[in-house]
Symmetry: C2
Subunit: 124 residues, 2 copies
DNA sequence: CCCGCATAGGTTGTTTTACTACCTATATCC
DNA sequence: GGATATAGGTAGTAAAACAACCTATGCGGG
């Protein structure tokens, strides 16, 4: 048995800061049309310039979670003998994406303000 | 006995998305002079417009972690009979702050690009 | 005088989340 | 025949933030 030495190879150890922000990215990846799981993973990698090169152990469970919560819907198909689960955004998923996008803007703006402008109350 | 019904009151349940980004905020709060733990917590709350009103169970362990890692240094003092642990940024902490600030910029820019501009590879 | 609140410091235990490390299987290129 | 890319997973671990507790002092209102 075989590819024990292979598995996944994340290489760019940078994506650990995603914590609460992975879901909104996955939803956004499906915004302009359905993709299958592996294609979502690849789109995230390419679209981020290699920054978010996530292992399958991160992407697949996250997609299962989103499907369980009714934000995306998946259907099985077979292409060239390979099983594919193609996901599309549900109406609830679109609403969540819209809301989370606003959340991200506010969140990022707040952190950026504190980090860049040094907008802290007086030290005394 | 007593204040069982009090404890902490986070009110704005918004800070759970901080995940990987709390440390850099705490370091930045100490950039322009030392503060004691409670003052760091309050500065974060006020400086964020109430967005990051973190419970003590989040702030104190995080400060302990930063101190353990040598990024901040704490000293005890007593003011009006109240114990205070005042923290200052170490040289290592300043370097980390500088590095993490750059990390945040890149991270935020990547997510914003994917969310706002829809910079995804073709769905096909 | 006592109560509650703000200040100041914790701790314990839970949950969520991403990651590491595995595993199966097919098609293609060398 | 072997490696790699594609395509799907799972199990177990580690970290981080949170909820819920706890102690203690000073001060203001009733």
């Amino acid at each position: 048995m075989g590819n024990r030495e292979n598995g996944d190879r994340p290489t760019k150890a940078d994506a650990q800061a995603l914590k609460g922000h992975l879901d909104v990215l996955l939803l956004a990846a499906l915004e302009h049309g359905p993709r299958h799981g592996y294609a979502v993973k690849e789109a995230l990698r390419e679209g981020s310039g290699g920054r978010f090169d996530l292992p399958t152990g991160t992407v697949y469970p996250a997609l299962h979670r989103l499907e369980r919560d009714g934000l995306i819907a998946g259907t099985w198909s077979t292409v060239d003998g390979r099983r594919r689960r193609t996901y599309r955004l549900t109406a609830a998923g679109q609403r969540r994406l819209h809301a989370d996008r606003g959340e991200w803007r506010a969140f990022a703006a707040t952190i950026t303000k504190l980090l860049e402008a040094g907008a802290w109350p007086a030290t005394t």
